[in-house]
């Protein structure tokens, strides 16, 4: 064992290596606690169901599906539903992985031994965020790819911008991760989970209300929905993803009355806003955690 005099030989701390150590710890926990196993098995099952559903739809409704009017609508509709499920499940996964990151784990005494080390608290936050982003973002990537491929193979047809949905869903789940991290600096695990999932639900409801507002010609409702979806930009990203699936022209208007309701293009501005939003969440979490007594 080194003597005290040797303690001077301390290597220059590397924030990146600390982030990776913390992220690895969180990922190890997800593996050892069988979170990834359970998610993997359930994802395989739901993927199989999606495949069976697409195949039976194609098999049983060939006449309708092959008509030129309906043909572009079916894969878009299915991918719209798959996108909703993917974003929802990815968000739930992210919330469960991040809800205890700060206050919850500090209350249990897990954080203190780590942050007493020459690890910046920011590196701790970064590690937890990275782990959740890798798992939840990876989940969304894999499931979206699978759903898009299955749809393409079964129907031999995809909306032209179908692949553009995937980065938008990943961005949406990263927003949820960032929001959860901020809230976890202030609230206990359960309170964090409940509040973020309620905010998530509020975002989705706002999207539906906005669609109703547009259909009924109620601009105030549509305006409120737009404000909420930018305040919670995972919803704006979801709406932008749906927009990528919506056929152009009158057919698109028709489809938007259905499961792709709420589709709305955010443009480049949405990407910039989302990046700034996530960075802002990081800064807020850093500020809050940095001044917390543990």
């Amino acid at each position: 064992m080194s003597r005290v005099g040797e303690a001077a030989a301390v290597a220059r701390p590397s924030a990146l290596s600390d982030v990776l150590v913390i992220a690895r710890l969180a990922l190890q926990e997800a593996v050892r606690r069988r979170v990834l196993t359970v998610v993997g098995i359930l994802t395989l099952l739901s993927g199989a169901l999606y495949l069976v559903g697409c195949a039976s739809l194609k098999h049983n409704s060939t006449t309708i599906i092959d008509s030129e009017v309906i043909k572009p609508i079916v894969p878009a509709t299915l991918l719209g539903l798959a996108s909703f499920a993917t974003l929802f499940l990815g968000s739930v996964l992210s919330v469960f992985l991040t809800a205890s990151a700060v206050r919850g784990d500090a209350d249990r005494g897990l954080v203190q031994p780590l942050v007493v080390r020459p690890v910046g608290r920011n590196a701790y936050l970064g590690g937890r965020a990275l782990a959740a982003a890798v798992v939840a973002g990876g989940y969304v990537l894999v499931v979206s790819l699978f759903a898009t491929l299955v749809t393409r193979i079964v129907f031999d047809n995809l909306p032209p911008s179908a692949w553009q949905v995937i980065p938008r869903l990943i961005a949406g789940v990263l927003v949820v991760t960032a929001v959860t991290l901020v809230v976890s600096c202030m609230l206990s695990t359960v309170a964090t989970g409940i509040s973020v999932l309620m905010a998530y639900g509020a975002g989705l409801v706002a999207g539906l209300l906005g669609q109703i507002g547009q259909s009924l010609g109620a601009p105030t409702l549509a305006h409120i929905a737009a404000v909420v979806s930018w305040a919670l930009p995972f919803e704006a990203m979801y709406r932008d993803a749906l927009q990528q699936l919506s056929p152009a022209g009158p057919l698109g208007e028709l489809v938007q009355l259905g499961p792709l309701g709420g589709a709305d293009s955010g443009g480049v501005g949405l990407w910039l806003f989302t990046a700034a939003y996530i960075a802002g969440c990081g800064l807020l979490a850093s500020w809050r955690f940095g001044r917390s007594d543990l």
Binding site: M1, E29, G109, P118, G120
Partner: protein, 289 residues
Amino acid sequence: MVAPSSPPLVSAIGVTKAYKRAIALRGVDLEVAAGEVVGLLGPNGAGKSTLTKLLCGLVKADGGTATIGGAPAGSIRARSQVGYLAELFRFPGWATAEEVLATHQRLTHRPTADPAAERRELLVEVGLAQAATTRVEAMSKGMQQRLGLAQAMVGGPGVLLLDEPTSALDPAGRHTVREVLARARDRGTAVLLNTHLLGEVELLADRVVLIDAGRVVAQGAVADLTAVQGVTIETDEGRTEHRDISRDKIPALVKQRIREGRSIYAVEPHRSTLEELYLDLVGDRESDR
């Protein structure tokens, strides 16, 4: 204040801290030198844990100055010199003892020639040699406490801040911890030992700091604080108790009794214990709360 023989590795000067309206520390001064074990005593709520957390950067001071090896407490440079065992801590239940130590090795930023050998050595030192691959969730509270101590010593820190390190241990475990801390002191480590176990402090600490209601109410070498006060002399007339007489006056008193023609059978100095000192200064504060 008793001045340590070498410059302090741990220093707190006029440190204050309040949690909203509750004042935890009201201007605490404390020093721990290299190769010194200082026992931090006081009733629950006295501010001991707050002071320990403040020194390792978990809590921010409202006023005063706290340093570790000359660096502001809580700074990266200060934390790189500290090993800390919290009173209420937990390691991930899924991790083995080896994995816990390996994680902390990575986070200490101290390159070790043979990390696996250091882990083995630490586990042997705290009596967990056979539990290297045991998961934390399968360990008893005492084993976890030992692992916590090993974790605190990862990288051979210059300063050990230990908050109730023996609270969950049986007598054998406490003995092991005493030996570990004595060896750490011999290596030149500054040890701040926050505990309720006065016996541990009497056996191990070079100095004691007694805190009550956020203030230092006594500090000094254990021998000085537990100095002789009074003596009982047994003569042919019987036993006579002389209270409030200091150690240096006992020979003169004995000579006087001999001059008076008494036969002396026994001279029994009264040495106060830390417990008596503690009760004198702090009283049974717990029952008042």
